[in-house]
Subunit: 331 residues, 2 copies
């Protein structure tokens, strides 16, 4: 038995290709005193990983060429010399794109697959869910009756944003790519409306879907979609700026033309990442876990089988080919 | 004796020209019951007036073609049938671009020219000063030791921003157009540095003037200068978006390219106008008046004589030809 790993082979200039990754085998790690070893069951693929592949200054440490790609997994402790983690515990850890990893327990969360499904701890009851919760509640601050718009609405973050907005008594309007995703957002997640930005009538459809204007925009994509929403923002509206997936391959695509709206409408914009607010993770995860456990918060997963398919699945995610939370099943 | 007025003759498409204004004479108004008549001593010219000339949706009621141009003046009550205002009182009122106006007292502030000079109530102890105070304290929230950058630094708002920042124990860096303005900002207002954006080395000089990065940017101009400052912003920095003078004639000039910085640095941006915060006017004016009275807050005025020169002075203001608070002396 060997460990299998995906390494960052080269930093992309433009779109990510499978050649930017390299497979490797290594020995399964052994726990030293104060450590434990995890066998990963699911690896999470997330848009933020694209930023880690670049050399540019960003909000987190970049991935290093020749090293295991950064990432979070859920799995089971198979060996332990750590006082607080025992064999058979399920955990969420940042062991990266590999089958086995070891940890000293820093940043590791114990999870209970009997309460919600194991994979959900990487999505709706994990980082993406917390990101939605924090961005909406801390920065969006929606009041009942207001209109909340979210882009990438069928994704792991966006789907939670709209459902939480509905629980706040708001009108929830999604933006997603393609009819299937929009149908899912309206029919399954029960948003009030969802606009297919690929249909080419974003401005008109957004105006029609938001007859009272937009009070909160949760932005996962940036660029032209942000510009379109800016044209519908109300006075004293808020933008929670969570992601800029439209500019990962080309920062010029993030250009905002309608900047006048920020002053005319006295908009408050806040860029954030979920790790800025570690104090909020506990209440967020508690609420999200309860909602999932009770069946009041829905989610969808795109699961590929096998670590060897992780690079292609990640490239698909960056191109919007996933449908819901993208996972790699490793066991 | 007649009243003299400047009317809005036509809405500009592009740069404002004197042909967009028209002079008129009328009878000096008489006070009805509950009203009083003011003879204006100084008329204030402010960049916001450019927005009022447009037909576009904005944060305030637009000026109407054929009506007296909107604006604020300080002057003396010369006739009164109002219980709270008597002949000889000095007031700040929104009587517009004319020599005489009448009021029912709504929004009128009594002022004391023995405490600070009469004209200062239109600038540093008036709307521009309050704008600086609110934007810096409410939205910039500088802490001692931080770096505060302000554009249009020699102007009525910018000059106050930097001086208040110094009083907060911050490093104050101005951006202004031309050596004379920059020299004034550093030598008279005692900013730590001031960059001449017309010198063509904005990026490099901004980086050099802000060795610890930028924590607060008070933006009066928008456009390329905002882009340049975005490249220097620190994590968790704040932008108080107060004006967009660079885009008044051409909204395309407000395009922001470096939007990535908002997410990478988790920047908080807030568009605001001073009338959003009426509760803060009293404490702001009290502090500003005290600082001017005690000689701890400096200001500069550009004064033209005569209402007939108001249109040209206003056009000069939009082109950055004023140097400090632009006023028209009417008496």
């Amino acid at each position: 038995m060997k460990n299998q790993q995906v390494l960052l082979a080269a930093r992309p200039r433009g779109p990510v290709e499978t050649s930017h990754f390299r497979f490797a085998e290594s020995e399964i790690p052994r726990a030293d005193e104060g450590e434990f070893v995890v066998r990963a069951h699911y690896l999470s693929l997330d848009p933020y990983m694209r930023g880690r592949m670049d050399d540019a200054k960003s909000y987190a440490k970049k991935a290093e060429v020749g090293e295991v790609m950064v990432g979070t997994a859920v799995g089971e402790v198979i060996e332990s010399r750590h006082a607080k983690f025992k064999v058979g515990d399920f955990v969420e850890t940042r062991t990266g794109w590999q089958l086995y990893g070891k940890s000293d327990g820093g940043g590791v969360r114990k999870i209970d697959p009997a309460y919600v499904p194991l994979s959900a701890y990487l999505g709706v009851v994990g980082m993406p869910g917390v990101t939605a919760w924090i961005g909406l509640n801390e920065h969006g601050r929606p009041k009942a009756g207001e209109t909340v718009v979210v882009s990438a609405a069928s994704g792991a973050v966006g789907g939670v944003v709209g459902q939480l907005a509905k629980l706040h008594g708001c009108r929830a309007v999604g933006i997603a790519g393609g009819k299937a995703k929009c149908d899912y957002v309206v029919n399954e997640l029960e948003f009030d409306a969802c606009i297919d930005y690929k249909a080419g009538k974003l401005d008109a459809e957004l105006a029609a879907a938001c007859p009272q204007g937009v009070d909160v925009y949760f932005d996962n994509v940036g660029g032209p979609i942000l510009d379109a929403v800016l044209a519908q923002m109300n006075a004293f509206s808020r933008i929670a700026l969570c992601g800029q997936i439209s500019g990962y391959n080309n920062p010029d695509a993030l250009t905002v033309h309608n900047f006048r709206s920020f002053l005319v409408n006295r908009i408050q914009l806040r860029g954030f990442i979920c790790s800025d607010h570690m104090d909020l993770w506990r209440p967020a995860l508690k609420e999200l876990g309860t909602l999932v456990h009770e069946g009041r918060l829905k989610y969808r997963e795109s699961i590929v089988q096998g670590l060897e398919n992780a690079p292609a699945a990640f490239i698909g995610l960056l191109n919007g080919q996933n449908f819901g939370k993208q996972l790699v099943k490793l066991i």
